[in-house]
Symmetry: none
Subunit: 221 residues, 4 copies
């Protein structure tokens, strides 16, 4: 999901039910387990990943896994938190206050799509997990709602200012447009649907602007 908002403090996905290691060695083991998990999840998906494979990949005994994680979900959660942290350090900082909407939107879309692309395999696994695991599903739903509501409020504001098509239901539109981008990312980078890569960001941005009928976005006719 793209976001038009500012960078936020990380880690909505709070990790590990196990306490963090204190010793240096422990920290290293935990880190190598997470790194191994990434490898294995990307290779096998969530369902087919076995704890013992993750441990083997990290070159530790199976039993050691449980020193740091409660189970498969737990380490996946930790991994996703880490990914999210990585994603929140954007290469290109978001444009400032005065920037026109179209530019902010484009920047936000680009940032989202690029980080999705960079972690495509894992995003696919996350998609899978969300369909399988109740708590992940719930978690994702919550994140999406929050995000959608923010966008809905933005749309409402634009409508009130006469800057957006007033016939649209703001909430439905927010769901639709948010879903549009995340779905496109999924299709392009996980399913690898054949589409011209460099057109994705401009087209999706344009679609969004058009859809809202935001004035002042140049439509070459």
């Amino acid at each position: 999901m793209p976001t038009t908002s500012k960078t936020k403090p990380a880690a909505e996905l709070t990790s590990s039910a196990r306490e963090m290691p204190v010793s240096k060695r422990g920290v290293a083991t935990r880190a190598s387990l997470i790194a191994a998990a990434r490898t294995i999840f990307e290779r096998d998906g969530f369902l087919d990943a076995r704890i013992s494979d993750i441990a083997a990949e990290a070159s530790v005994a199976t039993g050691s896994f449980y020193t740091y994680f409660v189970g498969k979900e737990d380490i996946f959660l930790a991994l996703m938190a880490q990914i999210q942290d990585e994603m929140l350090h954007p290469e290109h900082p978001p444009p400032g206050e005065g920037t026109p909407l179209s530019e902010k939107l484009e920047a936000s879309n680009r940032a989202y799509l690029e980080s999705y692309r960079k972690n495509a395999k894992l995003m696919g696994v996350l998609e899978q997990v969300s369909m399988i695991n109740e708590s992940f599903r719930e978690h994702r739903r919550a994140r999406m709602f929050a995000f959608t509501e923010r966008n809905a409020r933005m749309i409402k504001r634009l409508q009130d200012d006469g800057q957006a098509d007033p016939t649209l239901d703001p909430l439905v539109a927010a769901f639709a447009l948010g879903g549009m981008v995340s779905r496109l990312a999924f299709q392009a980078f996980v399913l690898e649907a054949p589409m011209p890569f460099e057109k994705i960001v401009p087209t999706v941005t344009q679609l969004w602007l058009n859809a809202l009928q935001t004035p002042g976005h140049d439509v070459a006719r």
Copy 2:
């Protein structure tokens, strides 16, 4: 996925590796197994559904399941084929040739969303299965590509006729808009995101028309 095209001949999902029953009794048993599968899949999802539960629900011995189906995937395939058949007998026949685009689109969206809604539970399971099972994933991808290409051609035609924003990449736009609707259906009916139901069809139709900048769709300002 909504479609602007005409009703097509059914059953792309060809089922069962086992031969179809000959006797009347066999036909009935097979049908009751499929019905049972629907119940169980809706209740437990794909992963948690057990063959033995399906058989029990159909009041036959577990072994009898294998008289008709090779396994869980097989019966799910058969079930989906049946659903698809049901979906292809629309209550409201699609509008004829002369109808304006906006109306055709609205009808198509309405038909899609309604049948999605009617089978929401199962569509959720299908979504799950598509994320889990390679062959289902492939199957779905193929269907989506075909559908998207059709829409991309339509968009191209509109652009050539000066009826649609020419800056849009037709293929990316087709993916994005198609994904928008299917994603919205998923959010609304599977995840049960709280949104005003009666606004969905008009809003999504309007978004689509706006996004393409199709002229002549009234935008109240």
Copy 3:
């Protein structure tokens, strides 16, 4: 096992626990089941042959199998009885009374090896079944003992006549020489050990004569 004795009335393997069919149709069905069994056993061996495959091969319903046979062993028994009947109609009738031992032996070995070869696949299956099935094992053991005792008596007679090495234990020798030929047949025709086919009969006959030190068999020196 080769035999030096005369042709005997067939069917030591008494077949079917089910009564023989009376109607013409029944006779035909039974026959086609046996023919089918031969095909399937040769293709799949005893263990992997399924009743339903035999029935299918015979183009009858599975249930019909049980009209004629009690089970897999039963039809195998019937099949072997039939094979044995076929084997007992030798193309070359055994030589008469006055024939020298070496010629009788050669004729007997040739007859045995040729019919073994003709039914090699099935003999392999029989070998398999004898190792698996208690009653077949017993049956085969009994046949072999009878045959061996006959040969042991013959050897004893030769020894008493000064025509055979008297240091040999007649019974052990009979077992050894009988086993030698049947084992060779198995190796040559079932395991398809690469050996010059046309040398088998003469060599094995010569070995036998040599082994007994029967005088007057020309040993080129």
Copy 4:
């Protein structure tokens, strides 16, 4: 199969697809599973032996079986490798270079028949498995060919030296005589054919020598 050759390095049957245990406890468990397998295979044969019985006999959980072995074939392979190792430590070392052929042959036959007898039950099971299992069959075939070729070369040499009947085809003779001994062992110790035990070795040795017409073996007349 008897052999006239020297002791060879062990373990043609390399076992286990699972990695060997590291800990002391693991080594012990694996060993007790193999011991248990021997008991169960001897009692029930290969086909009727159940993994769960082997595990129970070894006093471990069924699942623990799979820590060490992939399946029934795998543990049988490991067991046979162990037997083979045992067999290769002969009580009576083979006679030296200068020994006459008849003595070498007798020693070799005795060694073979005694170790066959000592492991008679298992040899019977091996016989069964070889008829059932493709890979075992192939394995056994390969061993037999190697052994037979060695003997064929020996026979050829004797013939060239004027020490053996030149009319015999060396390869066929090697197959026949090798098969004779192994078959006799099977009949005597597995099928328990009633034959005077103490006569077996001398008779079979004599038969072999007679069969080849090796000179200087005293034939009392």
